[in-house]
């Protein structure tokens, strides 16, 4: 037994004080170790953390998710929900968690196509989540991407074209085509059509460049796109006859500035980053996996 005062002269040797401090240190260490042990992630706990409304096999159901589901189901703010409604929604969420956990145990991903689709979709979306979380790239990066894909950021351009055609074929030296072109430049197209037997191929509605190209065909569109209002393209021989296109209006695509394109640039940059990330993930998975392909598919390439 050690006798004497606990705190005496600090400069003097005091066995009683030394024992007390040893004991205090040991208790503190044990306390910290216990706290760390019982609060570490994955530790089975008996108390629901404050941010959760329940723990199902240690999987939390967040209060926030609970509130949202309750509001979605009742269509009213959380504060207006009755106790019975709250308990019902809580019961639904616990039930869902139990069934999901059981589904994982039964490895439904192996056999159930819906589960597989959901997992593939979730993995694809994971790339979206990672890119979104990385934040918006700085302006210099976006400007670089913009400069590399300059042609993508433009107005779509619009054309109003009357496409007339003469069924059958036409001798190049007959002079008729020149006469038609000349007449279409100066006279109402409907009068010229009556005189020469022209037929109308497409309407004169204003449309985007890409739609005009679909309607007119690539060859005629290439003729037309550089013409101004009032000019006539043709003759151009196509399967159904000889075509003459009267340009009524031509608003060529205009390249947009970075400032006007910024939301699109940011979106496109994010999508390209997501694609890269998905590809990188697949490459990583392929590299760490052992994939054996049957002999008859030996030409398979990832």
């Amino acid at each position: 037994m050690i006798h004497g005062p606990l705190f005496g002269d600090p400069a003097a040797i005091n066995p009683r004080r030394a024992m007390f401090l040893y004991a205090l240190g040991a208790l503190l260490g044990l306390g910290l170790a216990g706290y760390g042990l019982f609060t570490a992630e994955g530790t089975v706990v008996r108390k629901v953390p404050p941010e959760s409304v329940a723990l199902v096999n240690n999987r939390p159901i967040l209060r926030s998710d609970f509130s949202t589901q309750l509001e979605n189901e009742t269509g009213a703010p959380f504060s207006q929900a009755t106790r019975a409604q709250q308990l019902k929604v809580l019961g639904d969420m616990v039930r869902e968690e139990l069934l999901v956990q059981r589904g994982l145990e039964l490895d439904f991903a192996e056999t159930d196509q819906d589960t597989r689709n959901a997992l593939v979709s979730a993995m694809t979306q994971l790339a979206v989540a990672q890119v979104t979380l990385a934040g918006v790239p700085d302006e210099a990066t976006l400007r670089r991407y913009f400069a590399e894909h300059r042609e993508k950021y433009a107005t779509p351009g619009s054309l109003t074209v009357e496409d007339w055609f003469l069924p059958g074929t036409l001798h190049a030296d007959s002079g008729v085509s020149d006469a038609i072109v000349s007449a279409l430049r100066d006279q109402p197209a409907t009068d010229v059509a009556v005189r020469y037997g022209l037929k109308r191929a497409t309407g004169a509605d204003q449309d985007w460049y890409w739609v005009a190209e679909l309607h007119l065909g690539r060859a005629l569109f290439q003729h037309v796109k550089s013409l101004r209002a009032g000019e006539v393209a043709g003759p151009l021989v196509q399967a159904d006859g000889v075509h003459f296109a009267v340009v009524r209006e031509n608003e060529a695509p205009v390249l947009l500035s970075f400032e006007k394109s910024q939301p699109q640039v940011a979106g496109d940059y994010a999508r390209s980053a997501q694609n890269r990330l998905t590809q990188d993930t697949l490459t990583f998975l392929r590299n760490r996996s052992r994939i054996l392909i049957a002999d008859e598919y030996s030409d398979y390439k990832p």
């Binding site: 705190f7 600090p10 953390p49 404050p50 941010e51 967040l62 209060r63 926030s64 998710d65 509130s67 949202t68 509001e71 703010p77 959380f78 504060s79 979730a122 979306q125 994971l126 790339a127 979206v128 989540a129 990672q130 890119v131 979104t132 979380l133 934040g135 918006v136 107005t155 779509p156 619009s158 509605d205 204003q206 449309d207 985007w208 890409w210 739609v211 608003e251 400032e259 006007k260 910024q262 939301p263 699109q264 940011a266 979106g267 994010a270």
Partner: protein, 239 residues
């Protein structure tokens, strides 16, 4: 020795108090928190720090947003998703918007009507240049009666059509939008993208819009997410 004991006691008490306040903060119904001065006083300075570290980059120091890149102003009374309640803000901070997280807001995008396939989610026909112009005239006419009435009428027909623009599906009959899916009100003076000019509206219709916001569920502790939500709530204009 006494000093060490005093400091230790104070630290321990502060830690216990902090845990207690954080517990109360998390256990309370989010929408009831603005009526809890003690918890708000605890949460707001922390929320400001969280906002500065994780949200300011896009939404700006004063939460003013940026119409050039479609980042909404968080300090006004115009709310794109929900009505600006704490629980709704918290949900956005948790799961984001088109963030890739399964619980994020991701019900609709603005189609790009000048493209061959305007919408990735399901089939919608493109609009032609005249139709885009007419719909824009119609939208401008909702605030400015000097617009060409014939063009506005044609635009209204496209807007309401279930076959063509289908704008009505998201922006509703009266063009006041739907904050259940994040479709903006097109009748007010608040524009998410651009300045509400003809060119800016046409650009939105032609090229489409689909802004994103990250979800912080896996990166930030629940208490910090709630603190950020409360900070944003405290800074918005309430009507």
């Amino acid at each position: 020795m006494l000093l060490v004991l005093l400091v230790s006691s104070w630290l321990a008490w502060d830690c216990i108090r902090d845990r207690s306040l954080q517990g109360r903060l998390l256990q309370a119904a989010p929408d009831s928190l603005p009526n809890e001065p003690q918890l708000m006083a605890y949460a707001l300075p922390r929320g400001q720090v969280g906002y500065r570290d994780h949200c300011r980059q896009c939404h700006g120091e004063q939460l003013q947003g940026n119409p050039a890149s479609g980042v909404p102003n968080l300090a006004d009374s115009d709310w794109l998703y929900g009505t600006g309640r704490v629980v709704e803000i918290e949900r956005v901070v948790l799961y984001g918007i088109r963030s890739g997280l399964p619980r994020s807001w991701n019900l609709a995008d603005m189609p790009a009507f000048a493209r061959p396939e305007p919408y990735a989610r399901y089939k919608i026909s493109p609009l032609n240049a005249r139709q885009v112009s007419d719909v824009t005239t119609y939208l401008l006419s909702l605030r400015d009666k000097s617009q060409d009435p014939a063009a506005a009428a044609r635009g209204s027909a496209v807007y309401q059509s279930p076959e063509q623009g289908q704008c009505v599906d998201c922006h509703t009959n009266d063009a006041r939008g739907d904050n259940g899916i994040g479709a903006p009100d097109l009748t007010d003076a608040v524009w998410l993208y651009g300045d509400g000019s003809r060119a800016a509206i046409e650009r939105s219709i032609e090229a489409g819009r689909a802004g994103t916001c990250p979800g912080w569920r896996a990166r930030l502790p629940p208490a910090q997410i709630r603190e950020i939500a409360l900070f944003v709530y405290s800074r918005r204009i309430h009507q």
